[in-house]
């Protein structure tokens, strides 16, 4: 059997097999073992992939493994027990399905494959967002389902139009949606149809990437999902959608490319400023982090819109940094929520006294773009790319947004530190969960060396 298919199926099958044992401790180790096997299988496929896809496979595998590790020790609280998907085996199978569907996105060689992968993520994550069965979680799941279904339908419409353009341009139907074929023969295709098709695809995938004004589902879904799922949604799903946008950009040329880049600059600028402003108004840490995702997604869109080699490098580097930093922040707040039974900022005073609080603080430092974390370098590179491209308006908006988000992060850090006192009623966070959080923080720290390696596509 093809190794790629095995690597895609492994997370889901592993989660299903891991639920078979009647003993809890065996189930735990089986789930972790199968997750490790899934990572190993994904790594074995790396030589078959181009460097962009390989980079995303590595990120998806590591963050998904950490989320599985975390979920094995801190399981989300179930508020509505008769929600028929609210059970441990179902949770881990949905998590495995989510992981597998993200791998479909990056292993695909055509836009049809990418769409199937993105669509499959919606299928799995709707239940994961509403997993607790609480009222707001279910409402967030509904909102997510409706808005993302319309988003991916728009993308599918674009893909169908691109297929039509390919067929009209003389491409064989089996290759009409492959980006390598489209990039090679793009100029022979009818330009008006290609332009509309690529714009629709970009807008559709931008909905999943949480870019403003299609972002309305993101803060609700990311804040109401269990912490480990929020880590995957913010760290990975948004990255997968941006991966799809990068592939859309790869087949554009001439005036079509200019239109796509301008669209990305507008969406990115709106996202950074709206995300940063709304971060200042939040009282819940998970919701705060969700708006931070909107802001960072916008920053990556700006870099992709600038579209110079340095800007594309910076965009990819920022995605890597964001995936690990945001995953560490959501996992850390999950450990905090387990102990404090709340994510309200005013309920979390004195957080820095605790080990998990220090890890959360470290992830906030990473998200603020402060050294020694890699996000400092990636944000700096995006600014340099904007200066080189003379995108002064976009640069001004991005710098303003960075200043606002820094202020919001500093306020959050101060609010969770001040008036600290001992809380004897707190639960201890399980060691496995803290291992997952610590590993994510450590990897976010190690990302600072990425530009000095040859990991990122040039």
């Amino acid at each position: 059997m093809n190794l790629t298919i095995v690597a895609i199926a492994a997370p889901f099958l592993g989660a299903a097999l891991g639920s078979l044992s009647p003993r809890r401790i065996i189930r735990l180790w089986m789930r972790l073992s199968f997750a490790a096997i899934a990572v190993a299988l994904a790594c074995a496929t790396l030589p078959q992939l181009d460097r962009l896809a390989a980079l995303f496979v590595v990120i998806i595998s590591i963050v998904s493994f950490l989320a599985t590790l975390f979920s094995c020790s801190i399981f989300p609280k179930i508020e509505l027990p008769d929600a028929h998907w609210a059970s441990r085996p179902a949770y881990f199978m949905l998590l495995g399905a989510f992981w597998s569907s993200m791998l479909i996105v990056v292993y695909a060689t055509s836009f049809g494959g990418i769409w199937i992968g993105i669509s499959a993520t919606t299928l799995a994550t709707t239940f994961l967002v509403g997993f607790s069965g609480g009222k707001t979680a279910l409402e967030a799941a509904w909102k997510y389902l409706i808005l993302c279904s319309f988003g991916i339908a728009i993308a599918l419409l674009g893909i169908l139009l691109l297929g039509r353009a390919g067929l009209d341009g003389g491409l064989a139907s089996a290759h009409a949606l492959e980006w390598s074929t489209l990039a090679a023969h793009g100029r022979a295709l009818p330009a008006p149809l290609v332009k509309v098709a690529l714009l629709l695809m970009m807008l559709g995938f931008a909905t999943k990437a949480g870019l403003v004004p299609m972002h309305a589902w993101l803060p609700d879904a990311h804040s109401k999902a269990p912490a480990s799922i929020s880590a995957l949604l913010s760290g990975l799903l948004v990255s997968c959608a941006i991966y799809a946008i990068i592939r859309v950009q790869s087949v554009a040329y001439g005036s079509i490319a200019s239109t796509l880049n301008a669209t990305l600059l507008v969406l990115g600028s709106l996202s950074v400023i709206v995300g940063a402003l709304l971060m200042l108004a939040q009282h819940d840490v998970k919701r705060f982090l969700s708006y931070s995702t909107v802001e960072h997604s916008g920053l990556v869109a700006i870099a992709l819109g600038i579209h110079t080699p340095l800007a594309i490098f910076a965009a990819l580097y920022h995605l890597v940094n964001h995936a690990f930093s945001k995953a560490s922040a959501f996992l850390a707040i999950g450990a905090v929520q387990y102990a404090h039974r709340s994510t309200e900022i005013r309920q979390l005073r004195g957080l820095w006294r605790e080990g998990r609080g220090k890890m959360f603080l470290a992830s906030l430092v990473a998200l603020a773009g402060l050294p020694p974390f890699g996000m400092f370098l990636s944000e700096f590179l995006i600014v340099i790319a904007a200066v080189q491209a003379r995108q002064w308006a976009v640069l001004t908006i991005a710098l303003l947004a960075l200043a606002l988000s820094f202020a919001a992060l500093a306020r959050l850090a101060i609010d969770t530190e001040s008036d600290g006192h001992e809380r004897p009623d707190l639960r201890r966070s399980p060691a496995l969960a803290l291992t997952a959080v610590g590993s994510a923080v450590l990897i976010a720290l190690l990302c600072v060396v990425v530009p000095f390696t040859r990991i990122l596509p040039q």
Partner: protein, 201 residues
């Protein structure tokens, strides 16, 4: 003729606020789109996908909606968000916009483009014009049917990929949405979208 049936049923769905008649009109709309999107290349693969889509959209989904209404005593009023004058205005706008988009340079050489875009805009309008979650489900199912039609009209040569995508879409709309709606009944038996306003995107 079939295009007229499609557009009239889309308009009726935007205006109607009663579940039973909306379901009947939905079946007409979906029947018309399925008629137009019947695969040209009748391979076992394409026919199997088409049969799956047809069964999910024409039989399973409507039956599940009716089952949920009877089992949980959900009101059959789809709760219009706007009065009839506004709904008529939106319906006219959706049809006019569909025709206008079909006249863009990119689509002038594609027949039935107007029907596709009208169906797409109408499905979006059905969600916007009603507050009941069952109406949103019908809107999602309409959207899936509109995409099936778009596949048949825009890219008939890509039938395999389109039908696979359609099947995914139908499953998401019908089964996932129904599961979530069923759980939401515990908190709001009227399934009114107003209860979602506690969330601020």
């Amino acid at each position: 003729m079939i295009d007229t049936i499609l557009v009239l049923s889309a308009v009726a769905l935007m205006l109607d606020a009663r579940l039973r008649s909306a379901l009947i009109v939905y079946l007409t709309f979906t029947g018309a789109t399925l008629w137009l999107s019947f695969p040209r290349e009748q391979t076992a693969y394409s026919l199997a996908f088409f049969a799956t889509i047809a069964i999910v959209k024409m039989v399973v989904s409507p039956l599940l909606i009716v089952w949920m209404v009877r089992r949980y005593h959900v009101p059959e009023n789809l709760t219009a968000s706007f009065n009839i004058a506004w709904r008529i205005a939106v319906a006219i706008a959706a049809v006019a916009l569909g025709a206008a988009v079909a006249h863009m340079d990119a689509f002038t050489h594609i027949s039935r483009a107007a029907a596709v875009f009208t169906a797409l805009f109408s499905s979006t309008a059905v969600v916007v014009l009603h507050r009941n979650l069952l109406a949103h489900m019908i809107g999602l199912l309409m959207l899936g049917s509109a995409i099936s039609l778009a596949g048949a009209v825009f890219a008939p040569g890509l039938s395999g990929a389109t039908e696979l995508a359609d099947t995914f879409d139908a499953v998401i709309s019908a089964l996932v949405a129904l599961s979530v709606a069923r759980s939401l009944i515990a908190f709001d038996p009227r399934l009114d979208v107003r209860s979602l306003r506690g969330l601020r995107g």
